[in-house]
């Protein structure tokens, strides 16, 4: 415990990024993630790194593209409307096979929406969030500790698979403080022979580009990229199971929704209801296996989300519709209460 400090989730992300060797940050302020930029503004000049408040989100993501192409670990952060602005750049990063870490501290939408916590960017994060065939590795922290550790993981996976990784957080996770330990064993960045870091007259020019006008070639790039995505799906899915061993009802939730859901599971257990929780930690790749397993054992699945129902589609796919899956939700910046989730669990425990 001696090494634990109390930090906001946003600050934990920023410090973890620095620990992961990210010396370059480009951002633009937006609530509820501005502490990331503020922290970087304070720290980066002291350690010889770059903090740059760009003129817009679009500028920031394109600066990320440039620094990543040069072979360095780099990050940007924003909240929902800002991520939409970055979407073009994110697609370009994916198209150029560039690693980078993008933070989305979600707020209520659509449009300018509100500033309170939300999970309504799940589709955007996991199903694209830009044009073209591509995926991001999407990590969904459930604590301030994970805001830090998954940021480190994001850098490692992005480098390993040469693709952008996103931290899909929400306003609560960004604003809350919890004790966090920041001693990480960070995998050093791999060699990047593709980087545009100067030929030193010893090799051919590297070109980092997402333009490919010959369809036969572009198709080849896409097939190759999806072979890599397949590896990610096979190897990198992460989740937490909580009290699932004997469960006949399953709830599932990620991020802040999983924290409230955990309380509801504990309350339901006190009442003798056999209920368990699966908390996806990666939402792309979606952890299908524990759901396939539980589909054989439970009679009902409740998906708790701060949205109108987005992750629920992946849950239904994962269980091949063998078990009914229903939604328990709030939206627009509201958070379901323990009572609301408990009532939902009780309803299905009684067999309604």
């Amino acid at each position: 415990m001696a090494n634990k400090v109390l930090m906001k989730g946003n600050e934990a992300i920023a410090e973890a990024a620095i620990k992961a060797g990210c010396m370059h940050y480009f951002g633009y302020p937006i609530t509820p993630q501005t502490e990331i930029a503020a922290y970087m503004a304070k720290r980066m000049p002291k350690i010889g790194g770059t903090f740059l408040q760009a003129e817009s989100e679009i500028a920031a993501i394109n600066m990320v593209y440039g620094v990543s192409a040069a072979g360095y670990r780099v990050m940007t952060s924003s909240s929902s409307p800002g991520i939409s602005l970055k979407s073009e750049g994110i697609s370009y990063l994916a198209g150029a096979d560039l690693p980078a870490v993008i933070i989305n501290v979600q707020r209520g939408g659509p449009g300018l929406g509100g500033i309170q916590p939300s999970q309504s960017d799940y589709f955007q994060a996991t199903k694209g969030g830009g044009h073209g065939d591509f995926h991001l590795i999407v990590l969904a922290p459930g604590s301030v500790q994970e805001m830090a550790s998954l940021t480190v993981k994001g850098f490692e996976l992005a480098d390993k698979y040469r693709m952008p990784a996103m931290i899909l957080a929400d306003g609560t996770m960004g604003q809350m403080m919890e004790p966090v330990e920041l001693d990480f064993d960070v995998a050093p960045a791999p060699e990047k022979p593709w980087a545009t870091n100067g030929t030193k007259m010893q090799r051919k020019h590297n070109i980092v580009n997402s333009l490919s006008l010959i369809p036969e070639e572009l198709e080849k790039f896409n097939f190759k990229r999806f072979e890599r995505y397949k590896l990610v799906e096979e190897n990198e899915a992460m989740y937490e199971e909580y009290k699932t061993e004997d469960a006949d009802i399953l709830v599932t939730a990620y991020g802040i929704a999983s924290r409230v859901t955990k309380n509801a599971v504990d309350e339901a257990r006190k009442k003798g209801i056999k209920v368990g929780l699966i908390r996806p930690i990666t939402v792309w790749p979606f952890p299908k296996k524990p759901f396939e397993k539980m589909a054989e054992k439970v009679k009902h699945i409740v998906c708790v989300e701060l949205s109108m129902g987005q992750m629920i589609e992946d849950v239904k796919l994962a269980v091949s519709c063998k078990v009914p899956v229903t939604l328990c939700n709030r939206a627009g910046g509201m958070i379901p209460s323990t009572e609301q989730i408990l009532a939902e669990i009780e309803k299905y425990a009684k067999g309604e």
Binding site: G114, T172, M176, M177, E178, P179, V260, I335, S337, T338
Partner: protein, 179 residues
């Protein structure tokens, strides 16, 4: 196994978030699990501010508080808004300089502390919040000099070290008031 849920509330600028932070750091000093969740956004910008603090021997589920054990209310809108959220048998500490009405609940312990008046009488007008925290620790039986000193050193940065003594003094004023 014990879990205590605190809600601090008042105007922006009264040190609401700081009081909550003090309590969270105190929990960390004592090797407990803690969470601290502020209100953010429009309500902070000139309106009411609040923060939820949970201190527990167990790991903490949701940082959001449905039912409060201890409510600190430093203005009337906060008392109006949160009085109903306190558990039966819970505690409400309010700044009676700024809140003229009495608590309507009869199933909670209420402490009326003229914190803002005490703060200005004792030449620490910005520390009504810490006067309340002192009282809070006294009534919960957690007023311990060594822990308080260690916590203040964590929560007040070295740059503001001159504020350590005056914060401690404010807490003493609160703790001793009414004795």
């Amino acid at each position: 196994m014990k879990t205590t849920k605190y809600l601090f509330s008042g105007f922006g600028g009264q040190g609401i978030l700081f009081s909550g932070k003090f309590l969270a750091y105190k929990g960390l000093t004592e090797d407990k699990n803690v969470s601290w969740l502020p209100s953010y956004g429009p309500e902070m910008r000139g309106g009411t501010a609040s923060c939820s603090v949970i201190i527990s021997d167990e790991s903490i589920g949701s940082p959001i508080i449905d039912k409060t054990d201890v409510l600190v209310a430093m203005n009337l809108p906060s008392l109006d808004k949160f009085e109903g959220t306190v558990k039966a048998g819970g505690t409400i500490i309010l700044d009676s300089t700024l809140i003229e009405r009495k608590v309507e609940r009869t199933d909670v312990n209420v402490i009326y502390l003229p914190a803002t008046r005490l703060a200005s009488e004792n030449n620490c007008p910005t520390l009504a919040n810490m006067i309340i925290v002192g009282k809070l620790l006294k009534v919960t039986g957690e007023y311990d000099d060594a822990t308080i000193d260690a916590t203040l050193k964590k929560v007040i940065s070295a740059k503001h070290a001159d504020m350590l003594d005056v914060n401690k003094k404010a807490m003493e004023i609160g703790a001793n008031y009414g004795d």
